[in-house]
């Protein structure tokens, strides 16, 4: 019982990452009809916004400390961040400690910018092109973005810890009356879950309750008619692309303390996010979120050792197996609309 509760918690957390990425991908699929293979790269770029900000915050000048020596026996060069000089050591360290949450502010404008540039400069020219061409061009772009990051940051993962205050884990078991130490969950993962819920809610509210959102939804349903009504749908779609990029980027920023980011983390998520979107149903935002959580929870449950002992290797294939079953029983995924990307 405790084990299952624990895995559902895990699933919600994993699912929130899947749901966030899938949400952005569906926005692009649904609104623009573009198969964006660079979406994983946007997630990765978001994560590297956090890395970049913490690099900027820890920009240092060197002080030579003659009391210590480095590996070659020369006096040790100690790095002192400029931020210590500006705010003093204590405040400076606190700012560095909070680098990841601060990156959210830093990442939003950057990611929207990247999204808008991508759409205006490249994707726009591919709306009328076949999906195959879209795949090729966005895949090429994903490789380029990835290689640029690798060139500047190397191939190894880069540790970006969460603020001190969120390290350690919360004992749910004790709070719910079970034995202590049985259901524990890291604070940062709870933060991630809450953050994802917030972003998802904000995107839905934006589409549901603003005029802008209404026009975009109308455009998703019937682009031509909206255009005929004299509404500049292209501009709105550009903005939607920016928002989708920002959602992916934020998912990446907040993910960095969970797993140290590296340049190919986007590719690791790419296939998965496509599976999530399709299982959810093409063009359905609630479907994408639902599928994200569903697959997250099932993946977690399948990784329990009783389950693996029962069916060896199930943890390796569960997501794909579920995808196959759902697609065979529900032709358009969980909540897909007819006619979207079916030809």
């Amino acid at each position: 019982m405790e084990a299952i509760i624990l895995q559902i918690l895990n699933g919600l957390d994993k699912g929130s990452a899947y749901a966030l990425i899938a949400l952005g991908l569906t926005l692009i699929f649904g609104t623009l009809g573009v198969v964006n293979f660079a979406h994983g790269a946007l997630f990765m770029m978001g994560a590297f916004c956090a890395v970049t900000l913490s690099r900027i915050l820890t920009l240092s000048h060197t002080v030579i400390d003659p009391t210590q020596t480095d590996f070659l026996g020369n006096p040790l060069k100690v790095q002192v961040p400029y931020i210590h000089d500006i705010f003093g050591q204590a405040t400076g360290d606190a700012i560095i400690d909070w680098a990841v949450p601060l990156s959210i502010l830093f990442a939003i404008p950057i990611m929207i910018g990247i999204g808008v540039i991508m759409e205006r400069g490249l994707i726009r020219h591919f709306y009328k092109r076949p999906h195959a061409d879209q795949i090729l061009v966005t895949f090429g772009l994903a490789i380029v973005l990835q290689e640029v990051i690798k060139y500047f940051y190397g191939a190894n993962p880069i540790p970006t810890p969460s603020p001190e205050a969120f390290r350690g884990s919360f004992d749910f078991g004790a709070a719910l009356g079970f034995d202590p130490n049985v259901i524990i969950y890291p604070y940062w993962r709870l933060v991630y879950f809450g953050f994802a819920a917030l972003v998802i809610g904000a995107v839905f509210a934006f589409l549901q309750f603003t005029t802008f959102g209404m026009v975009v939804r109308a455009g998703m349903a019937d682009r031509e008619t909206v255009g005929l009504l004299g509404i500049n749908i292209d501009k709105r779609f550009t903005i939607m692309f920016g928002i989708a990029a920002a959602v992916a980027g934020l998912a990446g920023v907040m993910y960095t303390p969970i797993n140290s980011p590296n340049y190919h983390m986007g590719m690791d998520f790419l296939v998965l996010s496509f599976v999530v979107v399709v299982v959810g149903g093409m063009g359905s935002l609630p479907g994408a979120v639902l599928a994200g959580f569903l697959l997250g929870i099932l993946e977690s449950l399948a990784s329990m050792s009783v389950v693996i002992d029962f069916i060896p290797g199930i943890n390796q294939v569960i997501i794909y197996l579920v995808a196959i079953v759902i697609l065979l029983t529900r032709p358009r995924g969980l909540m897909g609309r007819k006619g979207v990307m079916e030809d």
Binding site: V35, L122, H125, R129, P130, H131, A132, D133, I135, L136, V137, F139, G140, L141, A142, I143, V144, Q146, E147, V148, Y151, M267, V271, F274, V275, V278, V279, M282, P312, G313, Q316, V317, Y320, L321, A323, I324, L327, L328, P331, R332, G333, M341, E342, D343
Partner: protein, 401 residues
């Protein structure tokens, strides 16, 4: 010729001449010259060109004709390789039974996957095929290790049964794959002045098979069956209204292209008897998609060009390192040399992926029809009259979708 019309026969002949003369064409630079780095005429890469060519030709029969975008074709290549290596382990080192088995097994595998996946179309179909391939990869890498060798791949060993053959060669080594005693790795060098050309048994064996596969593809493209597949692509609904059930046709196309993939996998194992699970990873499936689109989906020769292009990048560009760059530009003044090297360095060697990504984008932006369209444009530059000739041998460029 071969029941082909004149243009197709000319195309086939052209491909035949190109593949037969490949050792010359791919080694245009004298060995030992500055440019020898770009020579691609060594057996392994030439074999890869034609084998991936077969893979892409087969993929194009499905994708180019029916428009069904499979994202799991590498699975068939993978099972083909595994079957071939098992044949080497159990039966004999002769490549024919091994290749035959790999085609059959890949065919059966694709019947199962195709039957299920073809119940859906569009992106739903793509994800179903992707899911099957990813499952094959994950299981082959882990729990199926006793059958597949897992991480280290399936290899030959000295204590394999090899019922119809020797377990170990006279020198105490594992025997090598061959065709009735003609070893696949045997090569002959021809030295013409400073040029060295290598003729390899395995390459010519694969090239002949590729020509057969190419010929078959032309026949399929031009057959009533091929017309039916095109009809499915252009409007499946209308086809259904006429009372035709499209699924048997798409399934047939799927299985044929799966068998092509199995053939490619079997040939890969015949050239180099080892099969690894990475052959089934989604990036491998993605690679053949990229090869086909890059070359020109729906055209006959396009996928082969795309396959050659990507394999060339992977094997040649990735091997250029900094010291080679310095040797190329040693004649420049010191500061300028360092600057030029520093400018080029990110794009070669370990940066070959960057170059590949940029070229993908460049091709799709400037040549919407893929490399074939590039060829056509060059053809057109030589005057209108010639362009017409050039257009047609490249197959009918149906827009990729």
């Amino acid at each position: 010729m071969f029941a082909l019309d004149k243009k197709d026969a000319r195309l086939l002949l052209m491909v035949a001449v190109l593949t037969m003369l490949a050792p010359f064409i791919l080694n245009p630079f004298p060995a030992g010259s500055e440019m020898a780095q770009f020579n691609a005429g060594y057996p392994d890469l030439m074999q890869r060109f034609v084998i991936f060519g077969i893979f892409a030709i087969g993929f194009n029969i499905l994708f180019g004709l029916t428009g069904y975008l499979s994202f799991g074709h590498a699975a068939f290549l993978g099972v083909g390789s595994y079957s071939a290596v098992w044949m080497f382990k159990l039966l004999s080192m002769n490549v024919l039974p091994a290749i035959a088995l790999s085609v059959v097994v890949a065919g059966l595998f694709s019947v199962v996957i195709g039957f299920i996946s073809l119940r859906r179309s569009g992106i739903y179909f793509s994800i179903l095929t992707l899911a099957f391939a990813q499952m094959s990869f994950a299981l082959a890498y882990s729990v199926l290790t006793p059958i597949t060798g897992g991480e280290t791949g399936l290899q030959l060993a000295l204590d394999d049964p090899r019922i119809l053959d020797v377990a170990a060669s006279a020198t105490g080594n594992i025997p090598v794959p061959g065709l009735f005693g003609l070893e696949m790795r045997a090569s002959t060098n021809l030295e013409l002045g400073p040029w060295v050309f290598t003729f390899n048994v395995g390459y010519y064996f694969s090239a002949l098979i590729m020509l057969a596969a190419f010929y078959l593809a032309i026949r399929i493209f031009r057959s009533p069956f091929g017309m039916m597949l095109r009809a499915i692509k252009s409007n499946q609904q209308r086809l259904n209204y006429t009372g035709l059930n499209a699924r048997p046709y798409t399934l047939a196309a799927f299985v044929i292209s799966g068998m092509y993939a199995g053939l490619a996998g079997g040939l890969m194992a015949a050239m180099d008897p080892l099969a690894g699970a990475e052959r089934m990873f989604w990036t491998a499936s993605g690679e053949v998609v990229l090869m086909t689109i890059l070359g020109g989906a729906g055209t006959l020769i396009g996928p082969v060009l795309g396959a050659g292009f990507i394999k060339y990048m992977e094997n040649i560009i990735s091997k250029i390192n900094e010291s080679i760059l310095h040797q190329w530009f040693y004649w420049l003044p010191d500061g300028l040399e360092d600057f030029v090297v520093a400018m080029i360095y990110p794009f070669i060697g370990k940066g070959w992926h960057l170059t590949l990504g940029l070229l993908f984008m460049a091709v799709v932006i400037f040549l919407p029809g893929g490399l074939v369209e590039g060829g056509q444009r060059i053809g057109r530059m030589f005057g209108r009259k010639k362009s017409e000739e050039k257009d047609k041998p490249s197959g009918k460029t149906t827009p990729a979708e």
